[in-house]
């Protein structure tokens, strides 16, 4: 096989993968700009372009309070992320850098927690939060998210921390810094990129959540995932697909931009938490 033929083959394969990743996303974005009368137009580029769908998504008189859902998702995602990082950072550091009795048990527990089926939590939490009067408050959405974001945070951070150069920390310790001081002054600045990557992953995971949110949210605290799943138009039998695609595009585009900018770090984070863990 000649070199040229070989590289042509690679590009064909790459093109297939590219269409796989981008095709449906492109279709969503194109549909978002279509006039509702042309919802099922299958021209592969935008025809009968309108911006009205994006307006309708925010039109509360049509029953779509998507603006509020976006704000809710950011609040829930950010709060979950901050709590998981605060709780998880020291634990990850300790798991990565310190040997202690029972360490295997602790890391095993945290790994199993990351595979735990969230559906088991749903019934007791629904009852508990109903009793406490928390349904419709943000804490009812944020606290359960800790159950899957925290294990992921600890694992990803720990695998990043093991790869940091330990010599600097040793030097700081020899110069008389306490362990916490060494962590805060020497390790934390070094670990900043890893912490940032983990923060993105934690945020995306929390924003993606649907099952808990569906049962534990009320209109006021509904995140985008639930809002999108319930989107209804004037005719209850026909979902307003152009508006749903507009809403979907609005949620996805910031995430896609984030992914494109931090592509390298996100892949490092995913594979660290997954395979290398």
């Amino acid at each position: 096989m000649t070199k040229r033929l070989k590289s042509a083959r690679i590009y064909v394969a790459a093109l297939i993968v590219l269409v796989w990743g981008l095709g449906p996303f492109y279709w969503m974005a194109v549909t978002a700009f279509r006039d509702p009368a042309y919802t099922f137009d299958s021209t592969p580029w935008p025809t009968h372009v309108t911006l009205a769908n994006f307006q309708h998504v925010f039109d509360t008189t049509r029953g779509n309070d998507f603006g509020r859902a976006l704000v809710n998702s950011v609040i829930i995602g950010a709060a979950t992320m901050v709590i998981a990082l605060l709780l998880g950072m020291l634990a990850a550091y300790t798991l990565a850098r310190v040997n202690f009795r029972g360490k295997g048990v602790v890391s095993g527990l945290i790994l199993s927690a990351s595979m735990f089926p969230v559906v088991v939590l749903v019934t007791p939490l629904f009852q508990l939060f109903t009793d406490l009067g928390w349904i419709g408050h943000y804490q009812a959405m944020i606290i359960p998210n800790i159950s899957f974001v925290l294990p992921m945070t600890v694992y990803t951070l720990a695998s990043f921390f093991t790869e940091l150069p330990w010599e600097l920390e040793e030097a700081a310790r020899i110069d008389g810094a306490g362990r916490l001081q060494a962590f805060r002054l020497v390790m934390l600045p070094l670990a900043a990129p890893a912490v940032f990557t983990t923060a993105i992953l934690a945020f995306i995971a929390a924003v993606n959540e649907y099952l808990l949110a569906r049962l534990l949210s009320a209109d006021k605290t509904e995140p985008v995932t639930v809002a999108i799943s319930r989107f209804s138009g004037n005719d209850p039998k026909v979902p307003p697909y152009v508006e749903i695609m507009a809403a979907g595009t609005l949620v996805t585009v910031p995430l896609v931009i984030m992914v494109l900018i931090f592509q390298r770090r996100i892949i490092a984070g995913l594979t660290a938490g997954g395979v290398k863990s």
């Binding site: 590009y11 590219l18 998880g88 020291l90 634990a91 310190v98 089926p117 159950s147 330990w166 920390e169």
Partner: protein, 338 residues
């Protein structure tokens, strides 16, 4: 899923001052302080996972409140023994007069085994497809060519789109008038016919999750040193031989971990079929059954969620024991390989 290497390490006598350059770890004089650092996480997990699980188990042995047949009065629970479990496993329903008989069709209780079957079908098919397609994708992404970074970024997009959005996107594309029927010139009712709707859910799930699998496999591929392939090529091994004799065995640890992670995810599948197919019972997974039951009877829903948990736990245990997929051991192997 314990960490065998970690346990032996910590059990070793701390007296011998080993070279820290090897392990990259520093020993504490007492391990007490390490526990202080780990405690907040363990405490938080005990609150958000431990407490609800214990409460779910307790609830699963209690009666759901309802009308008492004898008195016609509304009664609150009481002990139920294993009734909530037999309700699902044996599909037994309590009649108003207190007697027990098999659940009528349409009752959620009669859907248990169907939901188990659908969950297992989705799991086996999606994980197999993802592994095959993910391997292909990973090998393309592992090649060096211009624009490789673009490809890796594009592959992340399905992963980054929230599942709820993915579900509605594919729901739209699988409409009767939608682009899928248009592209293939078919007239299939993807949303209502049993097998087409299952097929549609599988396609959407495979689209969304294959990139994640591909990235995990790519990370595994990159650990394999290139000179092994070089040597095999010199010895005249064909591309297929190089794949089966070198790539597969050396990729096995990473592959097994990726399969384990994806299997666990597929077994708890909820968002995608729930949103994409709404009430269509032919795509109802076990997690969907739990959620549908919560408002009807929280205690029997708890029994179902405990059964779900035990099932997933059993599968994880089997995968770890039989296949030898051990995430933590793989981590050590990979570190050594570096």
């Amino acid at each position: 899923m314990s960490d065998p290497s970690g346990t032996t390490e910590s059990a070793a006598p701390p007296a011998a001052p080993e070279k820290p350059a090897r392990s990259g770890r520093i020993r504490l004089p007492g391990s007490g302080r390490a526990w202080v650092f780990v405690a907040p996480v363990l405490l938080a997990l005990a609150v958000v996972i431990g407490y609800p699980v214990v409460r779910a188990v307790v609830m699963s042995f209690q009666k759901d409140s309802g009308l008492d047949a004898a008195t016609g009065m509304f009664v609150q629970g009481g002990g139920a023994g294993f009734d909530n479990y037999t309700h699902w496993l044996l599909q037994q329903c309590q009649l108003p007069d207190g007697s027990v008989e098999s659940c009528p069709t349409g009752n959620l209780g009669s859907q248990f085994w169907a939901a188990i079957g659908i969950t297992l079908l989705f799991t086996v098919v999606t994980v197999l497809l993802e592994t095959a397609l993910g391997l292909g994708m990973a090998s393309v992404m592992g090649k060096t060519f211009r624009g490789r970074a673009v490809l890796r970024a594009a592959v992340l997009i399905p992963w980054a789109i929230p599942t709820a959005v993915t579900a509605r996107l594919w729901e739209y594309m699988f409409q009767y008038d939608g682009v899928v029927n248009h592209l293939f010139g078919t007239h299939i009712l993807w949303k209502t016919d049993p097998w087409p709707s299952r097929f549609a859910v599988i396609v959407a799930d495979v689209w969304k999750t294959t990139p994640f699998m591909a990235l995990l496999l790519l990370a595994g591929l990159q650990v394999i040193p290139g000179d092994v392939y070089e040597a095999a090529r010199v010895d005249g091994a064909s591309a297929w031989q190089r794949f089966t004799r070198i790539t597969l065995p050396l990729l096995k640890p990473a592959l097994l971990v990726a399969v384990l992670f994806r299997t666990m995810d597929a077994l708890r599948l909820y968002d995608l079929p729930a949103i994409m197919m709404q009430g269509n019972p032919s795509t109802r997974t076990i997690s969907m059954l739990v959620v549908d039951q919560v408002r009807q009877g929280p205690n029997s829903a708890s029994a179902l969620s405990v059964i779900t948990f035990l099932m997933i736990f059993a599968v994880a245990f089997l995968l770890v024991k039989v296949l030898g997929a051990n995430a933590v051991a793989t981590q050590e192997e990979q570190r050594k390989a570096h």
